[in-house]
Assembly symmetry: none
Homo-oligomer: 401 residues x 2
Amino acid sequence: MDMHTLTRELQVKNSSKIVMLVADGLGGLPMTPGGKTELETAKTPNLDALATRGVQGLSIPVKPGIAPGSGPGHLGLFGFDPLRYQIGRGALEATGIGFQMKPGDVAIRCNFCTIDNSGKITDRRAGRISSEESAPLAISLRQIKIPGVEIFVEPVKEHRFVVVFRGEGLSGNVKDTDPQAVGVLPLDPVAADAASQKTAQVAKEFLKQAKEILKSEKKANFHTMRGFAARPDLPSYEEVYGLRAAAIAVYPMYRGLASLVGMDIVGTATTLQEQVQVLKEKWNDYDFFFLHYKYTDSTGEDGNFDEKVKRTEELDSCLPAITALNPEVLIVTGDHSTPAYLKSHSWHPVPTLLVSDCCRPDPHTTFGETSAITGGLGQFEAQYLMLLALSNAGRMGKYGA
Amino acid sequence: MDMHTLTRELQVKNSSKIVMLVADGLGGLPMTPGGKTELETAKTPNLDALATRGVQGLSIPVKPGIAPGSGPGHLGLFGFDPLRYQIGRGALEATGIGFQMKPGDVAIRCNFCTIDNSGKITDRRAGRISSEESAPLAISLRQIKIPGVEIFVEPVKEHRFVVVFRGEGLSGNVKDTDPQAVGVLPLDPVAADAASQKTAQVAKEFLKQAKEILKSEKKANFHTMRGFAARPDLPSYEEVYGLRAAAIAVYPMYRGLASLVGMDIVGTATTLQEQVQVLKEKWNDYDFFFLHYKYTDSTGEDGNFDEKVKRTEELDSCLPAITALNPEVLIVTGDHSTPAYLKSHSWHPVPTLLVSDCCRPDPHTTFGETSAITGGLGQFEAQYLMLLALSNAGRMGKYGA
């Protein structure tokens, strides 16, 4: 059974506040046998104090052994089964630059490329053209008109941009035009099902007009299209949980993911301190706050153990300002592990801490991967964390009589 | 979602080696309150050294409280949901003697029996006739001809043999003819669904001809048929995991199970030492090795605690030769528990140890049921173990962007 069938039925309204602080890529690994992880190495007096009051455990983002991307990682934390709900590449890219997709929209990742006189691709990334050069070119494609379809073109970075089609009868099941090779012609956009025929036709017309517009360019004289994807159909926090939810995130990707589940994107913070300031300002307007902290992930991706330790300590230092607000439920977790040792997202379960006045604390007085193994939350799939949040906030009635 | 949908998409090829050492029936129980299990009693310095480097936990073969047979026990370890994929008895028996079933085949377990002049069974096992006597009789049944069906008859042991029907339109849902009693007539083979009508008719004709061929025998003058079963439709290791897999097993049953998931059966070892020798010889030819060790199960089934302890120590002694090969991932587990105390397969979760350079070790320095409770792998369903194996070997990309 979908857990949202339950939460829709059992949700209870009250004045409680829930804060979910997501330290991206929080979980780690020791660099040497017998060593400590990044989180265990970091001096985290505030997290440890919360561990003493709270209960910890290990969150499995998807299933044991599966390393998730940011999309499924966050969907799980938001209480959506990440194997059921999938966000297509184009939709994730559009979301990641803050584009607000509407139901029925189809988003496409595009790459500027170079073609020769015969139309064959000579460079799939147009010489990795700079953002400064490519953005005006992407914007020039906004002059493309196709009857019955509204078109959005948004620059991304370097050779990348996003196209979104809005209109009746569009579906996202269209094959990539990038042949993944040079010396060959780009492929035609081909519908993989009947419902996507119109999308394929619109894409073909878009490519035709784009070729004409770009023809005098030296490097970026054409583009490919891939990752066609409709907006995923995700029910909202308000509907499934009865929560007015706000996202306080610096990076567009996480703002976008939160907006897909109906959170309001609030503030324009660029540092964690500023994010906490936004939290304070918006405290009375929402029931649920998603705070996203990026740097535990990016430092892990860089393989920089010491910097990840520092960034974890920075995270720790922001906690007193959050606990001073006295949220009924405070959760500190991550969407996945990003061990500096692996320089990538990993499958390892994520240390997760929950504090409330009725959380049934475990005996741990520090927060980390090793203590979480024997924490009171045990090992659990991330998609159940929102149920724990709601119950600890007194926002879930009992199931059955 | 079927995990193989993911592994097909996310699999990555590299040069890593994965060894899965399955000690059949590994988990146990204390014989007296407060006592230790077989594994905890055994002196296992090598397993303990691996526990220090690795991470352990408890594998739940099917679901909590379910004691599996060898079939579902191994399917789980191989990453196949044992509640979804089922192997019928006949298919398991045919597989167990190394018969290569093809899709559409139906296999049947047959027992020679003794009937009296009125056709009633006087001995359901034909006096437990010796293999020497029964094998020629089974082979004599190969003269049976039935139009439109290819027939295979293979001796097994003592009174047992296997019949396989191959042809169009055969299904395996036919009821046993063994009445499970003496002094009564054997039953007719009855189809339990429309698709199995032809199989039932063929079986009836087979029994008629067999009766004629065997009529002058003193002991084995007829036979029963039971466990009718089509070949299970299992995707292969190569296809779902991208692994060239080899099985090094002494007993035909486990060789057969491995062959159903597309593993090559290599070597002719009869001892664990010889199995490890085969492992060395085949090291460069495969990515994944399944080593099966039977005696932790058979001694448990015998209720012989001390002998199971000894066999566990024998298992331990073979480990240095395996670790000397430096597999990227080494797993030691069992397909189920077989406590000497119960003299049978049981539902208890199975101590499972995984060693790799990125396994996130837990603090344990011994391997056993009690330490596994607080191991870093937690309690997990066996069907996820292959995901962990692949990820630890760097053979799984991330799920979603």
